[in-house]
Point group: C2
Chain length 188, copies 2
């Protein structure tokens, strides 16, 4: 067991400073391991899910990905489907729903790959990763009116090779890829 | 070439709604591919660097990682060293500095692994990933007064296996790991 008490801070108070439709921002006062009080900025948001949909086609492992415009980076991103977990929804149900809405495929089998913090320094929410297999096509996508999303089948090898250069710019897609690679080496 | 014009939005205006020491938040008005105006929340921040420091010890590949408290997730995280690029600093210089400050090791060789958006949906900044090799120990860490960071040598295999469960909770560390794995398979 690693001794860690000299690293641990204690949160003492929170004050919301901004709230929008998708996130809120707070100043959070924390006492350091040495007893000093400091203020940090933390972003609160609902949890997210990201789905790694896999199928074999013409002898190649392919990912079912989505190409869409991203308003933060102001560019197109080719990434795994995913989104915000809705109130009252399980993470798995959220993963199944986002997959169906964005790609028009249903997963015959969904398995958990892991849970992380998208950014533990400044965000309090979690992102839950799922592997989707035995994909079955649905009649159509089911997008919000401000969503414009193209599903695309991409060879897994191309995604691994391309990651870190456009259009493979999404760090959470890369995080999902790390879990996928680990899972391939030692499933479960 | 993929036809993408039906996916592209155009930003029309920005309004800052909050600013702290480390980030600012803005409402950004964008016109959809179908001509409809919508408002999105975007977080602006300086660029970040993350360093994957590798060394061989007792016949095992090991990562030099850091254990620290994270104020967003309110827990300890074991992750790759990294931080905010300072004004006037190159990304590579920022990577070398963060590595030295947090781990007390200097990199004899630093090579770029890739650049991503930490979250292209809501963040405008970039994160730059570097591989650090030929590590040389320095006399001491050089931490800010609110930083409490323990460096730790961890077998690479353990990190890959543990990712997605505490203390391996940082999605950007997982993203870095994906780039490291890719680099091992096809360097450069």
């Amino acid at each position: 067991m690693v001794e860690t008490s000299h690293l641990i801070w204690k949160e003492e108070s929170r004050k919301e400073v901004y709230r929008s439709r998708v996130l809120s921002v707070r100043d959070t006062e924390c006492r350091s391991p040495e007893g000093v009080l400091r203020t940090f900025t933390v972003i609160d948001s609902s949890d997210w899910v990201i789905v790694v949909p896999v199928l074999e086609l013409e002898g190649k492992t392919r990912f079912l990905m989505v190409r869409q415009w991203r308003h933060g980076s102001q560019e197109l991103s080719l990434e795994f489907p995913g989104g915000v977990v809705e109130r009252g929804e399980t993470f798995e149900a959220g993963a199944a729903r986002e997959l169906a809405e964005e790609t028009a495929y249903r997963a015959g089998r969904l398995s958990k790959l892991g849970t992380m913090s998208p950014n533990p320094a400044i965000m309090s929410n979690r992102v839950h990763f799922y592997l989707a297999e035995d994909l079955v096509p649905l009649p159509d996508q089911n997008l919000d009116e401000d969503e414009f999303v193209d599903p695309e089948l991409v060879p897994a090898e191309e995604v691994l090779t391309g990651m870190g250069r456009p259009p493979y710019i999404h760090a959470l897609t890369a995080a999902a890829l790390a879990l996928y690679v680990r899972n391939e080496k030692s499933p479960g």
